[in-house]
Symmetry: C2
Subunit: 114 residues, 2 copies
DNA sequence: ACAAGATATGCGAATATTCGAATACTATGA
DNA sequence: TCATAGTATTCGAATATTCGCATATCTTGT
């Protein structure tokens, strides 16, 4: 696999995580499998929209599915996804905390020296 | 901060990583700070495009900058970003390896039972 | 076979991202 | 101050994402 393909696949995977509704869904799945109906009742995501997002998560291999009767249970396919998710949460938190201190040190902030 | 805001900020951060060119850039920065010109010469990204992506990385706090003469050096702001990046690489690799074995077990693959 | 509950898909409009070209800004040296 | 190297911004067109609606599919119970 060449570098370009790698970066494309990698960013496809990141894109899959880069949506508030899909993050909401993943957060519901972090403690184990949950059915579509359960996710729908725990969030304010309309059923069709929810199904579309689940379809995206499925197609990228982020979640796996199991049918039980007429319900379909979704689960995180690889726990490392959750670890990455939480790591980004850390970065976000640290970045928010640091924002006050480092505001204005950016080299592109030319207005400050004018 | 309410949940919606959190998921939005989190996915903003993920979106920042979810682009092949920005991943290429981050990969160049993983061993320490590099100037814009150096990144430009190591990749095939045109200068204007490169600068736009750097601007996005800057605005989300993913990188920090330092001016040295007429050059501007970019560096990863928080090493956890790289850890998350590598974790997603793991997921990608494991997912690609597993693809052959689990192909067709998806509940949405109805065609198989027809 | 039929009805009902649970989930998935197709489509179109609104919105967001991406890129290249042109241009502007900043610092250094003559 | 002027020229030049290095970097940033603006703008417009092409493309991709997102969402809601309508509808289709699948499964179970009768």
């Amino acid at each position: 696999m060449d570098d370009d393909s790698f970066y494309c696949l990698h960013s496809e995977l990141c894109k899959t995580l880069a949506n508030p509704k899909r993050q909401m869904i993943l957060d519901r799945l972090r403690d184990g499998e949950v059915s579509v109906g359960e996710i729908a009742s725990q969030t304010d995501i309309p059923q069709a929209t929810l199904s579309q997002h689940l379809s995206i998560l499925r197609s990228r291999g982020v979640v796996r599915t199991r049918r039980a009767g007429s319900s379909i249970y979704y689960a995180i396919a690889n726990p490392k996804i959750i670890t990455a998710f939480d790591l980004i949460t850390d970065v976000l938190r640290e970045s928010l905390g640091e924002q006050a201190r480092t505001a204005g040190t950016d080299e592109s902030e030319k207005a400050k020296t004018a």
